[in-house]
Amino acid sequence: MQVVRTMGIIKISMEPPVIDVKNLVKRYGDKTVVAGITFSVAEGEIFGLLGPNGAGKSTTISILSTLLGFDEGEAKVGGLNLKREKTGIKKIIGFVPQDLAIYPALSARDNLSFIGRIYGLSGAVLAGRVNEVLELTELTDRADEPAGNFSGGMKRRLNIGAGLIHKPRILFLDEPTVGVDPQSRNFIFEHIERLNEEGMAIVYTTHYMEEAERLCGRVAIMDGGRILAIDTVQGLIGLAKDGIIFLGIPSESTETAVKPFQPMDVRSTMAPDGRLKLETHRVDESLLKVIAVCKEQNIAILSLELLKPNLETVFLHLTGRRLRD
C-alpha cells in the first residue's frame, strides 16, 4: 500500500511501487556516495530527491536509470530487477540528464527522430510521436531549425522532449531547470504536471526547495549520500515545526549572546556563521518580542533574517546547514 499525493490530492494506492529501493550503496574507491538509502515511488507519483550539490541525488538517479552500477542493496524499477534486467528497465524509463543532451547541429525534429529510432520507433509511428513531442514542448514552429540556435529554455524543453519520445512509464529528471529563466521554468513545471496527470511516475532531483514544494507529492531529503527524512512536503515541514530568526548581534560568547533571549519561548543557538539562531513556531510574534528584548537590553541589531517553516528550514533543522551552502 502506498500513500500518494499528486497535485495536492492524497490517494491510497494498492498498486505495488513502481520503484522500490532497499539499502542501496554506491562507492567510488573509499568514498561512499550513496550510503544505504531505502525508498519507494508509487505509480503516477512525482517523487522528489532534494538536497545540496554532492548529496547523492544525481548518483541515485543515475543508478536507477541503469547508467551506474551499485555495490550493495537491491532495487526494482517497473517491477524489474535493476541488476539483472537493465535492458527491460531502459525500455520503460525516460532519462533527462542535467546536461543539455541534444545535438546542437541537428534540428529539433532530427534530434527527436534520432532518439526515437534509438528506442526502436520508425516510420509513421516515429513521425507522429515526433510531432506530438514537438507540440508538447511548443517547438513545432522551430522544429527544423538547428537546436544550437535555440534559447536556453527551448534547449531545456527539447532536452525533456527527447526523454519523452518513447512514452516512458517512469521519467527521471535530473535538475532539469538548472540555468533556466523563470518563464521557462514555469513552462517546464506545467509540462511535468501535465505528464503526471497522464499517469507517468516522475523522479525529480533538485536543490531548489521551491521546486520540490510545488511539484512533488513526496520528497526525500538527502545529504552526504543518506536520506535524512522522507515524507509529503507538509509532513516534512511538520518535522521542523518552527520558523527561524537569524539575528546578527555583537557578542563575545554563545552564552552571553543567548542569555537575553532565554526567557522567551524560543530555542536559541549559535549558527555556524556566528549569528544567533532562534527557532520558533510563531515567527511573526517572536520577532516583535526579539526586537523588544534588543531595545530593552540595548543590544545592537547588525542583521536580521526570517525563515518561515518550509523545506529549507527542515533541511536546516536536520543538518544545521542550508540547502545551497
Partner: protein, 422 residues
C-alpha cells in the same frame, strides 16, 4: 591598487601553474612530446641529411677478370656508400642479392657480369667490339633521390675503370697507324690520330663498351619504374588516413562532455552497439577519404596504382579499420577533447615517422627500422608499395593485410575494455 593587480595576477598564475603540475598527462604532452619527436625525427632523418649511416649496396662480382674488383674497391672508398660483398661469410651471388631485395632486407645491389674485364680489354679499334651491362638491381620502392646518386656513382666509377683499362689499347692503336721509322710525320695528322685513339678509348653513347642499367628482382613483376607520385602518395595517404582517429576520439569525448553519450547509454541498446555506431560512420568516411585521395592522384597526376584493384581495396579496408580502431583506443585513454587532440598529434606523428611515411625505413638505423614494425603505418606502406610499385597482387599482400587486421583488433579490444561508459 597596483599592488592588488599584481597580487591578482600572481594568484592566477600560481593557480594555473599548480593545476598544470598536478596534471601528469599535460606535463607529458608538453615536456615529453617534443623531446620524443626530436629524438625520433632526428634518427629517422639521419640518413637523408648525411649524419647517419651510409647507404648499403650489395656487390655481386661475377667478373672473371680483375676490373670489376677495382670498381668495387673504388665504390667502397666513397663516403656515404657501404659496399657489402659477402653475406653470412659467403660471396654474394646474383640469386642471393635478388632474394635479399625481394625480402626487403636490402634495397640495392650492383651486379658485374662475367665478361666485364674481357670487354674492357678489347681493342677500341676492333670492329663489332663486344659490350656488356652492369646491373643496378633496386627495390622499386626506393626513392629516386637515393637510387639516382648511387647510379651516378656506379656509372662514373665504371667509366673511369673502362677508360683506364682501354687507354693502353688506344695508344697501341695510335702507334699501329704509323711506321715510326718514317721521317716527316705531319704534326697535325698525328694530333688527329691521337685524338681519335683517345676518343675510341672513352667511347660514349651506343658505342659504350660498358653500360649501367637499372633493374628489379625477377620476382617483382615490374613493367616500369615507379614515378615520384607512386613512391610518395602511399606514405602521405597513410599519414592522412590516421587523422580520422583524432576526429573519432574528440567526437566521442564531446558527446560525453555534452551529455548526449549519457542519453545513448541510458537507451535500450548494447554498449558494443553504441561503440559500433560511433565506429562505422568514421570507418566509411575513412574509406571514402582513401578512395578520394587515390582517385585524385589518378586524375591529377596520372598515377598508376599497379595491377591489383582487389589488393588495393582489401589493404585500404584493413588500413581504415586500423585507423578507426585507434580512434576508439584514444577516446578510451583520453579524458578530455584537448587530451585526445594532443595525444593523437603525438601518436600519429611518431607512428608516421617510425612507419616510414616521411622517410623510407631502410634509411633509418637498424634499431629504429625494427621499432618501425610495431607501427601499422609500416605494414600498410609496405603493402601499398608491394601493390603499386613492386607489381604484386592480392595474395602477396595478404600477410601484411593480416597484420593490419591484427593491429585493428588489438586497438579495438583494448579500447573497448578501457572505455568508460559511466
Amino acid at each position: 591598487m597596483k599592488k592588488m593587480v599584481v597580487n591578482q595576477i600572481f594568484a592566477l598564475t600560481w593557480k594555473d601553474l599548480k593545476l598544470f603540475f598536478k596534471d601528469p598527462k599535460a606535463m607529458a604532452l608538453i615536456f615529453l612530446q617534443p623531446f620524443l619527436f626530436i629524438v625520433i625525427m632526428s634518427y629517422a632523418l639521419a640518413g637523408v641529411f648525411g649524419s647517419g649511416k651510409p647507404i648499403r649496396i650489395l656487390a655481386v662480382n661475377e667478373d672473371t677478370g680483375k676490373e670489376a674488383g677495382r670498381v668495387i674497391e673504388d665504390l667502397s672508398r666513397l663516403s656515404g656508400i657501404a659496399v657489402e660483398t659477402a653475406w653470412e661469410g659467403s660471396p654474394i651471388t646474383r640469386k642471393k642479392a635478388e632474394e635479399l631485395i625481394t625480402k626487403g632486407r636490402r634495397t640495392l645491389a650492383v651486379i658485374f657480369p662475367p665478361d666485364f674485364s674481357s670487354v674492357l680489354e678489347q681493342s677500341p679499334a676492333q670492329k663489332d667490339r663486344p659490350s656488356t651491362k652492369v646491373l643496378l638491381m633496386v627495390d622499386p620502392a626506393t626513392p629516386a633521390s637515393v637510387t639516382g646518386p648511387v647510379l651516378g656513382a656506379i656509372q662514373g666509377m665504371t667509366e673511369r675503370t673502362a677508360f683506364t683499362a682501354q687507354m693502353p689499347r688506344g695508344i697501341d692503336y695510335l702507334f699501329d697507324q704509323y711506321d715510326m721509322t718514317q721521317v716527316g710525320i705531319s704534326r697535325d695528322a698525328f694530333k688527329r690520330k691521337a685524338q681519335d685513339s683517345i676518343s675510341r678509348s672513352s667511347s660514349s653513347g651506343e658505342d659504350k663498351a660498358v653500360t649501367v642499367e637499372k633493374t628489379t628482382p625477377k620476382a617483382m613483376k615490374m613493367e616500369r619504374f615507379p614515378d615520384s607520385f607512386q613512391q610518395n602518395v602511399p606514405g602521405y595517404t597513410i599519414y592522412g588516413v590516421f587523422w580520422i582517429a583524432s576526429l573519432l576520439a574528440t567526437s566521442v569525448l564531446r558527446e560525453k562532455r555534452e551529455g548526449t553519450f549519457t542519453r545513448l547509454v541510458a537507451a535500450p541498446i548494447g554498449r558494443s552497439v553504441v561503440l559500433a555506431g560511433k565506429l562505422i560512420p568514421y570507418y566509411l568516411i575513412n574509406v571514402l577519404q582513401i578512395a578520394i585521395m587515390m582517385a585524385a592522384s589518378a586524375l591529377l597526376f596520372k598515377m598508376v596504382f599497379g595491377r591489383s584493384a582487389s589488393g588495393l581495396v582489401v589493404t585500404s579496408l584493413a588500413l581504415a579499420a586500423c585507423a578507426t580502431s585507434l580512434g576508439i583506443l584514444i577516446s578510451a585513454l583520453a579524458s578530455t577533447e584537448a587530451q585526445a587532440s594532443s595525444l593523437t598529434v603525438l601518436l600519429l606523428l611518431m607512428l608516421s615517422a617510425l612507419g616510414g611515411c616521411f622517410v623510407p625505413r631502410f634509411l633509418m638505423p637498424p634499431a629504429l627500422k625494427t621499432i618501425g614494425l610495431i607501427t601499422p603505418h609500416a605494414w600498410a606502406l609496405d603493402a601499398y608499395q608491394d601493390l603499386i610499385v613492386r607489381g604484386y597482387g592480392l595474395t602477396d599482400v595478404m600477410p601484411k593485410v593480416g597484420v593490419l587486421a591484427g593491429f585493428a583488433l588489438i586497438f579495438f579490444v583494448v579500447g573497448v575494455r578501457r572505455f568508460r561508459f559511466e
